[in-house]
């Protein structure tokens, strides 16, 4: 059984996995980081979005082995202690969530957008969120939160 080692939220983590172990399974079941969710498991809903080497990807469609040696950031890695990340704070401020299931993926996707575009338009946010589905259909406030969060980040995470 191969061993994978990656830096997860700033800490080096290793584990023995099967070839078929998905990155999201490694995060949730091996490391106990259950903030990353599995929704559709078909790379459409985006509940599983994490950052690998600074880029947002769907961890249900990535193998743990593919992330061997990578820097991985999950939703648990955003806040600084009890201080929420500006994007998380914006989601709270603008009530950018209803049931909350899609929220970790929404936030991780939004942070990637904000890293590239410090002041995205409503249209740009909606285009970017193509791969993040909210079954509560709470998009209106999510879009407002992403715009506010991006501005609060000021072009950096």
């Amino acid at each position: 059984m191969p061993t994978v080692t990656m830096t997860v939220n700033g800490m080096e983590r290793s584990g023995n996995v099967e070839g078929r172990t998905l990155l999201v399974e490694f995060l949730r079941e091996h490391l106990g980081l259950t903030g990353t969710h599995v929704g559709c498991d078909t790379s459409q809903c985006g509940a599983c979005v994490v950052h690998v080497n600074g880029t947002s990807v769907k961890s249900c469609t990535s193998l743990a082995a593919q992330a061997d040696g990578a820097e991985v950031t999950t939703i648990e890695g955003l806040a600084n202690g009890s201080d929420l990340h500006p994007m998380q704070e914006a989601f709270r401020e603008h009530h950018g969530l209803q049931c909350g299931f899609c929220t970790p993926g929404m936030v991780m996707s939004a942070v990637d957008l904000a890293n590239q575009n410090a002041d995205p338009s409503e249209h740009e946010v909606r285009e970017w969120l193509e791969g993040n589905l909210c079954r509560c259909t709470g998009y209106h406030n999510i879009v407002k939160a992403v715009q506010a969060g991006a501005r609060a980040m000021g072009g950096g995470s």
């Binding site: 070839g19 880029t55 990807v57 082995a65």
Partner: protein, 265 residues
């Protein structure tokens, strides 16, 4: 998903050796075509050979009359490439319309071309632009490379290293996308390039990408939307599923072709 052995070679030779060492092995690039079919047990390779650690497969180069895209370039890389945007903007726009942002961050041109999903966008771009698929051992023209649904000219141990696109005078891609997956229900790339006018269709046929000779002839005579608007394609062999029936897909091919021609400007 069945379990498999995972190989992470650091050279092209080692990747080929790993493929030759296990008859059930397959290559994995971004995995965004392969892993979904493995989850459905439609593919069950005994080993996966990752190309992520093989150097030299991730560059985009301007060769003057052509643009070369490394096999491991992600869709986001192609969409965001200043070279592709300047030389073949239709290709950059097509890549920007694949899936969603996270899919574009992971999926690669080499993976898409090797997988040859009948609804993938890249096969239409490769055929319309007259691309050459370069492998570790030979060069194959797109016309000969795509051989029907999920079938290509690749040998089991062959590795795509890059795709070379001749720069067209003008080109555009129009897609009627499945709203959930963004796969093409019907997608048409029209290119007016060194090999004349070429019209390639993806998403519509069960045999994968195909050219429409009648449209190419009509556009050769008069490059205008009206020239193709009256050219109907047969619904024989068209896909029929929850997204669209065969007749509707055939209709969409003409509509998308007209839009692509008009987008060429």
């Amino acid at each position: 998903m069945n379990d498999f052995t995972y190989h992470a070679p650091t050279s092209l030779d080692d990747a080929v050796a790993a493929l030759r060492g296990d008859g059930g092995a397959k290559l994995i690039a971004g995995g965004h075509s392969l892993l979904p079919v493995m989850k459905l047990n439609l593919a069950a390779p005994s080993a996966l050979v990752s190309l992520a650690g093989v150097p030299g497969l991730g560059d985009i180069a301007d060769g003057g009359d052509s643009v070369t895209v490394g096999a491991m370039c992600s869709h986001a890389q192609v969409a965001g490439s200043a070279i592709v945007q300047a030389r073949i903007p239709a290709l950059a726009a097509m890549a920007d319309g694949i899936g969603d942002a996270q899919v574009r961050n992971a999926g690669t041109i080499g993976g898409s071309v090797a997988h040859n999903d009948p609804a993938a966008d890249y096969p239409a771009a490769c055929v319309a632009l007259g691309a050459t698929i370069v492998t570790d051992r030979r060069e194959v023209h797109a016309d000969d490379f795509f051989q029907g649904m999920f079938a290509t000219a690749l040998a089991d141990d062959e590795v795509i290293t890059e795709v070379r696109f001749p720069v067209p005078g003008r080109a555009a891609y129009a897609k009627f996308a499945n709203p959930a997956s963004k796969y093409a229900v019907a997608g048409v790339m029209v290119a007016d390039g060194p090999a004349g006018v070429r019209v390639a269709v993806t998403g519509a046929s069960g045999d994968g990408v195909f050219r429409v000779a009648e449209m190419e002839a009509a556009l050769g005579a008069s490059f205008s939307g009206e020239a193709v608007a009256g050219v109907a394609v047969s619904s024989d062999g068209m896909l029929s599923d929850t997204a669209a029936g065969a007749d509707y897909r055939a209709h969409l091919v003409t509509v998308m072709a007209k839009r692509a021609v008009e987008a060429c400007g």
